[in-house]
Symmetry: C2
Subunit: 342 residues, 2 copies
Amino acid sequence: MSHNTKTTIYDISEKLKVSAATVSRALNDNPKISIKTRELVRKTAKEMNYHQNRLAQAFQKGKTNNVGVVVPFINRNFFSSVIRGIEEKLSPHGYHVIICQTHEDVKTEKEQIKILLGTQVDGIIMSVSKTTQNTDHIKEVLDQGKPLIFFDRRKDIPGVSSVTINDFEGAFAVTEHLIKQGCENIAYLSGDRGLDIYAERYRGYLAALKAYNLAFEKDYVFDLSNTTIESGTFAVKNLWNLNKKPDAIFSSGDYAALGALQELKRKNIKIPQEVCLSGFSNEAFTEYTEPSITSVDQTPLLMGKIAAEVFLEQIQGSQTLTIEKKVVLKPGLRIRNSSKRK
Amino acid sequence: MSHNTKTTIYDISEKLKVSAATVSRALNDNPKISIKTRELVRKTAKEMNYHQNRLAQAFQKGKTNNVGVVVPFINRNFFSSVIRGIEEKLSPHGYHVIICQTHEDVKTEKEQIKILLGTQVDGIIMSVSKTTQNTDHIKEVLDQGKPLIFFDRRKDIPGVSSVTINDFEGAFAVTEHLIKQGCENIAYLSGDRGLDIYAERYRGYLAALKAYNLAFEKDYVFDLSNTTIESGTFAVKNLWNLNKKPDAIFSSGDYAALGALQELKRKNIKIPQEVCLSGFSNEAFTEYTEPSITSVDQTPLLMGKIAAEVFLEQIQGSQTLTIEKKVVLKPGLRIRNSSKRK
DNA sequence: TTGTATGCGTTATCAT
DNA sequence: ATGATAACGCATACAA
């Protein structure tokens, strides 16, 4: 019942007294092989419990039909949704997705990419780690002539396509919304602006202030190394030591917004009456908190699908010519109770 | 600067006028090769931008150092934490994790396992999909002589080790806790009892009722095909059509508990004063809701680490003898505001 | 329609 | 300490 020794095409060829090449061709439904032989081979293969060694095949073809997806974390709604989008698009094309997480650590990112390349993935779709400065390990993907696509968190590397949302626009929309709710002293919790996305969101915040003639207050900008619950809590504690308290908090990440929410509640500060609050990313929990948190939808499913499409284009396109494609998606403001005053 | 043609050990051997075997050995730090040669080869390899082809290596060795991890979803706190635990344990041993999600679909599960086997993973650690009945595709892993370890959601297959928590005990503890808060009419939202975990949790609920001489009320048990927010909402709507309303709800999953919470709030029912509520799994959001939701911690990080340990034991152990190991972890009751009456 | 021969990149065995 | 060669499983160019 259980065959422990794996059967190869040679075993089949021996049993059927045909050549291994014939077996190989039959298995691949090569029309040059007679239907009769094809069926016989198939049947025998099944009987002998034959399973193709994809490794050997990939080795000889130089193509695995695997694509690597590298993300900081898999348990963020945003990233897991992007992955889902990629899978949905790629799977019908026979591509399989290998998921790797870096835990925001360059060293791990480097290692993961090295392994993915060594294991011969056909391409890599990634969102860079927060700590990534030097990009040599990323360029290596290009050097090996393989498609590389960034999504969300990109780096400026010539020849690399990317799919992002318009973070500037998203942050502008949030800030504008807060202003329209009557807020004038809007604190901003910023993620690491070494990442484009956070730099852009900050720009959006500033631009909206300017557009509505609100004074920029240096003390209202809080730099977080990580947008975590703890950092949000910490930020509020500090902000409330100021003489002039803010009447709104815009966090560039949902987790910090959540931490801020919790601390505001501990301080018995009414949301949104006294302070309006917004996050960014539209994590699932923003809907469930009390009050629910305003946020920005990054359309991750769509982002994943488009990233996958770009990959498919690149892999089908001529190998010599690399087209750099930059897709920028429109963010969606999700206004919830934490900032709804009417 | 960028070498598009990948260099092999032959390129190095040619340049250095040594044999490919020597290069291979040098690269692997074989002590039989002189230090001088080893260093020369290393240096040249770097210069020529050589990268090992792990695929070729795996092919010839019959060992990839990859292990497949198959889960229903990656964006559930429980699963992503287990994966993290597995990674942490396996990574120092040179193993790399390939993550696959089935989206609770047997067909996908089948496909994923087939691909993982074809791509020659050294073993598989998995949590079966809800819809999995027939297990032939899972047995195939054993047939190929590769270690297979279940975690959380297991199937009864001889020779397969598993790491689970004591779901019975966890559910018993929750029910007992609710009873001690003064609840007497405890509704139960059950996941698909075709899965061991849900069957066990149900048993725990029943056993606690019995232990405290509470009558079992058939109408209080609600069967959910999926433990989603919607199903929790739906359950509460139906339960509140009964003449005798429950004074507690114990959901076997956190998402359904969240849905129940939302619906209860819409109905202006005070939690925990009028109705106590508990979930199961300790999803991150259970801490953030208003009120926070009592739940059961499945110690996923530990579970992942142990699953990985079992894998390592099996792969290092003799190939002929398969030991079936069943590890059962202790669940942790996390009492939160949704059920704290004092 | 089928068979023969070769190569993919690496490691291992057996020489030297 | 190093070299020559076979082998891993499969697909394909070339022959027949």
